[in-house]
C-alpha cells in the first residue's frame, strides 16, 4: 500500500470508528428512552412515571382475563414473573391476545395503581410451529401434570 492510500485508509477507519463511538454514546445515554415499554417490575418499583402515557409489557397471567358482559371492557393482569400489574382496556384485542401471551399495552397508571390501557399490542416471539406439533406439545404437557 502506498503511503497515500494508507493515509486514506486511516481516515476512513477513523470516520467509521468515530461515528460508531458518537452514536454508541448517544444510545447509551438515551438507553431508557429507546426501550419500547416498561416491565411490570419497573412499574412496581416506581421507575415508570405515574399519570404520563407509557407502555407496559409482560405476559398475560393465566386465568386473569375477565370480560364485561355488556361492553368491550376487559381486565387482566400483566406479569414479568416478579411483579404483577392490573390492566383495564376497552376495545378490540389483537388476534394473538390470549392468556400466557406476551403483550404490550399503551396507557397510563391511575391513582389506584391500575393501568388504564388505550391500546393493546400482542408481542410475537421467534418460535413458529405447525398446529399439529403445538397440539401434541400441549397434550404432553397436560399428561405430565
Amino acid at each position: 500500500m502506498t503511503p497515500k492510500r494508507k493515509k486514506r485508509l486511516i481516515i476512513i477507519l477513523s470516520i467509521v470508528f468515530g461515528t460508531s463511538l458518537i452514536v454508541g454514546l448517544v444510545m447509551y445515554s438515551l438507553n431508557q428512552n429507546i426501550n419500547l415499554f416498561y416491565s411490570a417490575s419497573q412499574i412496581a418499583n416506581g421507575e415508570a412515571p405515574v399519570g404520563a402515557r407509557i407502555r407496559a409489557g409482560g405476559m398475560v397471567v393465566d386465568g386473569s382475563v375477565k370480560r364485561a358482559t355488556d361492553s368491550l371492557r376487559v381486565s387482566f393482569a400483566l406479569t414479568d414473573y416478579e411483579h404483577t400489574v392490573n390492566v383495564v382496556f376497552t376495545g378490540i384485542l389483537p388476534d394473538l391476545f390470549r392468556e400466557g401471551q406476551g403483550i404490550i399495552a399503551q396507557g397510563k397508571m391511575d391513582e389506584n395503581g391500575i393501568f388504564q390501557a388505550i391500546e393493546v399490542l400482542a408481542k410475537h416471539d421467534e418460535n413458529y410451529m405447525p398446529p399439529e406439533i403445538a397440539e401434541t406439545m400441549k397434550a404432553k404437557k397436560e399428561a405430565a401434570q
Partner: protein, 249 residues
C-alpha cells in the same frame, strides 16, 4: 508495504474486464434465481404448514426475512465498495456502490411494507416506533440519502466520493439494526435466522425460507450485475471498446 493482491483483484478494477466476465456469469445467476425463487415461493406459500398461532399470515416471513437480510447485506456491500473506491480510487468499486444503492432502497421498502402488513393482524398495529423498526426506517433513509447525494453532484467523481463517505458514516446503523432486539425492549421478535443456532421452527418451515434467502441473493446478484454493466457502458461511453461494442450491435 510491499503487500500485493492476486492478479484477479486488479483485473476486477477494469470496467471492460468486468463487462466481459459478468456476461458469462449472468445466465447462471438468472437460472439459479428463477429456480430458487419459484421453489421457495411454492413450497413456502402452499406446502409449508401454517403457524399454530398466526395461521397463514405467518407466510409473509418468506418475503419479509429474505428482504430484510438482503437490505442489510446490500448496505454493507455498498459501504465496503465505497471504501475500496475511496482508498484505491477504483472506478469499478464506485460503480458497484452506485448499483447497490437503488436496489437496497427498494428492498428496504419491501421489508418495511411486508412487516407492516404482517404487523397489523399479529401485533394489532401497522407501525410501532420500537428500536428495530425505527433503525430499519433509518436504513431506508440512508439509502435514499446516498442516492440523492450522488445525484446532487454534476461531477461523477465528486458524487462518488460524497456518496461513499455518507455510506461509511451510515454503516454504524447495521449493528444497531442487528442487535436492537437484544439491547432494548422491542415489539419485534428476535432474529429468525442466526448462524450459530438452529432456527426455532421445524425444518418444513425453515428450509423453504433458506431457499428464499438464497434465491433473493441470486436475484440481487443479477440486478447488481445488470445495473453495473449499464453504468459501465454509460461511464465508459467514450472509450474505444464501448464504441466498438455499440457498432457491432
Amino acid at each position: 508495504m510491499s503487500f500485493k493482491f492476486p492478479q484477479w483483484f486488479y483485473r476486477l478494477a477494469s470496467p471492460r474486464w468486468f463487462y466481459e466476465f459478468s456476461s458469462k456469469l449472468l445466465p447462471w445467476f438468472i437460472g439459479a434465481a428463477i429456480i430458487l425463487l419459484l421453489t421457495g415461493t411454492v413450497w413456502g406459500l402452499v406446502f409449508a404448514p401454517p403457524d399454530y398461532q398466526q395461521g397463514n399470515s405467518f407466510r409473509i416471513i418468506y418475503v419479509h426475512v429474505p428482504a430484510s437480510i438482503l437490505a442489510q447485506s446490500c448496505y454493507m456491500l455498498m459501504a465496503v465498495a465505497g471504501a475500496i473506491g475511496l482508498i484505491w480510487k477504483m472506478k469499478m468499486a464506485h460503480i458497484m456502490a452506485q448499483s447497490c444503492a437503488a436496489f437496497g432502497a427498494s428492498i428496504a421498502i419491501i421489508s418495511l411494507a411486508t412487516g407492516a402488513i404482517w404487523g397489523k393482524p399479529t401485533w394489532g398495529a401497522w407501525w410501532v416506533w420500537d428500536a428495530r423498526l425505527t433503525s430499519m426506517l433509518v436504513l431506508l433513509f440512508l439509502y435514499v440519502g446516498v442516492i440523492a447525494l450522488r445525484g446532487a453532484f454534476e461531477n461523477t467523481q465528486s458524487g462518488d466520493k460524497a456518496a461513499a463517505v455518507l455510506s461509511l458514516v451510515g454503516l454504524v446503523n447495521i449493528p444497531i439494526i442487528k442487535y436492537s432486539v437484544e439491547w432494548w425492549n422491542t415489539l419485534h421478535q428476535p432474529a429468525t435466522f442466526t448462524v450459530t443456532e438452529k432456527p426455532a421452527m421445524p425444518p418444513e418451515m425453515w428450509i423453504p425460507l433458506l431457499i428464499m434467502v438464497l434465491g433473493f441473493y441470486c436475484f440481487f446478484t443479477v440486478i447488481l450485475m445488470q445495473r453495473a454493466r449499464l453504468e459501465v457502458l454509460q461511464r465508459e461511453m467514450k472509450t474505444s471498446w464501448v464504441q466498438a461494442l455499440i457498432k457491432s450491435l
